[in-house]
């Protein structure tokens, strides 16, 4: 098991698949990282040398992933809320943001959309009530 930048990666996984375990890295970014370091597609994590692992760690450190990325997203959403935009209000209410219908079928939005404001709010961002409007209805 390899512990890299706060994430446990299984040794027997292919490198391009293992890198997707990081928050903020998907298949395309993972492939680009492997190409940059000349790691072949079928390479497993256990086959990497120390030098390659150091290079990999260096490249990942330059990217915004994991907690840094979460903080950035939360800050963006908070900014939208603070300046009073429509998108910010929808995040605060825990409702769909991109114009979807709310008459029915917005279950995912109601479940997930308020999380950036709930997790990182230091004070009552919406006044007295902390929970999104949709939860109180």
């Amino acid at each position: 098991m390899l512990h890299l930048l706060g994430v446990n990666l299984p040794d027997q996984k292919i490198v391009s698949v293992a890198l997707t375990y990081f928050y903020g890295i998907g298949p395309l970014t993972s492939r680009k990282v492997c190409s940059r370091l000349s790691i072949h597609q079928q390479c497993k994590l256990g086959e990497l040398t120390e030098a390659q692992l150091n290079q990999l760690s260096g490249v990942l450190s330059e990217m915004t992933i994991e907690n840094d990325l979460k903080r950035q997203i939360a800050a963006n959403v908070q900014h939208l809320r603070q300046i009073g935009t429509y998108v910010g209000k929808r995040h605060a209410m825990g409702l769909p943001v991109h114009g979807q219908r709310t008459r029915n079928n917005c279950k995912t939005a109601k479940k997930l959309n308020g999380r950036w404001l709930r997790q990182y709010s230091t004070g009552p961002a919406f006044g007295v009530f902390n929970a999104p409007v949709s939860k109180r209805l």
């Binding site: 098991m1 390899l2 512990h3 890299l4 930048l5 706060g6 446990n8 299984p10 027997q12 492939r31 680009k32 492997c34 190409s35 940059r36 000349s38 072949h40 597609q41 079928q42 390479c43 120390e50 692992l53 150091n54 760690s57 260096g58 450190s61 907690n67």
Partner: protein
């Protein structure tokens, strides 16, 4: 739980920050930092990652790990592999009287290729028959005769065996390589070049160049060359001083020494291979056979990518570039033959351009005779830089021999008759692979 573990780590990293100060490396864990604080920084170990040892390794499920005791097995269904007689394939047995008989490869030849590296489906066939044996066909004799003819002077063009999937191209190339090795040729036999392009082996960029090298594959090839024809290699001196890295090889050293040096120093194996091909192609002492299976990979887009994430064409891989000039008519052998075989197993490595040239569409003749004679008319390019040897269907005699062999090997249990052979030939259209599938399938 994972979330909790991650929160725990970030809290630990905050604590570590306080311990180490502003120069904290994000990837260090608390345990490492505390250990460093007490025992001094260990500069022999990397701190960018931690390998966790001692954790129970997950056992992968495998269907082949179950062992079955055959003590009480039904003898009708479970029988030992029969001992099939097959002549050994060498320079003496490769004659016209061996046509339509099965011949067996020598142990040394099989070991030089490597057990799990047989081309195409041949590995599974050999396991089924219990021995590495193939049918000696008329086309095999034609190729052997041509090889004998090129021992004095090589042809001006390389040759490529082409045919439908399962026609026996890889098998013919393998037999030719075996005969050449037994005859004392220098044999450079690349039995499968698909692993060279499918991104399954390591690769590395070459400094100050846009090329990439594959040291492991090159070392494997050199190992195979040395194992197959070490005696022939020792007969050819280098002829000039060669500098490889920091070492110099004298002109009196042989090609075998050059190959051994390449094996000992993987980073210089590509240079050693280039020198080997250079010297072998110009010397006149020992005839050479360069045989490349899956030759279509020399012109394909590989599965590798460069540092900008762009697809690498084959001509940017040094290993493939070593053989490309022979098939592009830019390099020839003074004494010997360059031959390849196409493969349709992985269609992604067969370029459309090459496929259209190998199998050109029927062209409608121009009705106007004067227009047809006009040299400025643009016609589809079908000219190839190499000669194409078409591998056609099996003949009925060859099919008979094949079916008799399958009967001896217990692959076919019914008696072999004219009707049976004709039925199999018609159903498979003379294709050996289709015939094998038809006798081994249940329905």
């Amino acid at each position: 739980m994972l979330g909790a573990a991650r929160i725990g780590r970030s809290a630990a990293s905050k604590a570590a920050k306080n311990l180490a100060g502003p120069s904290f490396v994000r990837s260090l864990s608390t345990t490492q930092l505390v250990a460093q604080k007490h025992s001094g920084v260990d500069r022999t170990q990397s701190t960018a990652f931690i390998r966790k040892e001692g954790a129970a390794e997950k056992k992968l499920r495998s269907g082949t790990s179950t062992s079955v005791s055959l003590d009480n097995a039904n003898p009708e269904y479970y029988s030992e592999a029969p001992d099939i007689s097959a002549k050994p394939l060498n320079a003496h047995s490769a004659k016209e009287n061996a046509i339509n008989h099965f011949v067996q490869f020598s142990k040394g030849f099989m070991e030089s290729i490597g057990q799990n590296h047989y081309p195409g489906y041949l590995g599974s066939d050999f396991r089924l028959f219990g021995k590495p044996a193939l049918l000696y066909r008329k086309i095999t004799q034609t190729l052997v005769d041509r090889l004998a003819g090129y021992t004095e002077e090589g042809p001006k063009q390389a040759s490529v065996i082409d045919g439908r999937a399962g026609a026996g191209k890889s098998a013919e190339l393998m037999k030719l390589a075996a005969v050449a090795a037994a005859s004392g040729h220098i044999v450079i036999y690349a039995h499968s070049t698909i692993p060279w392009v499918d991104s399954s082996q390591p690769y590395a960029p070459v400094l100050n160049s846009n090329m990439f090298s594959q040291h492991e594959l090159t070392t494997q090839l050199l190992h195979s060359v040395l194992a197959m024809c070490e005696d022939a290699l020792t007969q050819v001196p280098l002829g000039k001083d060669i500098v490889l890295g920091k070492k110099q090889l004298n002109a009196t050293k042989s090609l075998a020494d050059l190959v051994e040096f390449g094996l000992q120093t993987p980073s210089l194996s590509q240079d050693a291979l280039d020198f080997l091909l250079d010297i072998a192609s110009t010397q006149t002492k020992v005839p050479v056979l360069v045989a490349v299976d899956d030759v279509n990979t020399l012109w394909c887009n590989t599965a590798y990518r460069d540092q900008e994430d762009l697809v690498l064409p084959a001509n940017r891989l040094r290993l493939l570039c070593s053989f490309l000039p022979f098939f592009d008519s830019k390099k020839t052998l003074t004494k010997g033959w360059v031959i390849g075989a196409t493969s349709y197993l992985r269609s992604q490595f067969m370029s459309k351009d090459l496929r259209s040239k190998l199998h050109p569409k029927a062209q409608v003749p121009i009705a106007n005779r004067e227009l047809a004679k006009d040299p400025n008319i643009i016609k589809p390019q079908t000219r190839l830089p190499f000669e194409v040897i078409k591998l056609d269907r099996m003949s009925t005699n060859e099919t008979w021999a094949l079916m008799n062999f399958y009967r001896e090997a217990n692959v076919v249990t019914c008696p072999i008759t004219d009707a049976f052979v004709a039925k199999k030939w018609i159903a498979a259209n003379g294709n050996p692979r289709e015939m094998f599938k038809s006798v081994t399938s249940y329905f």
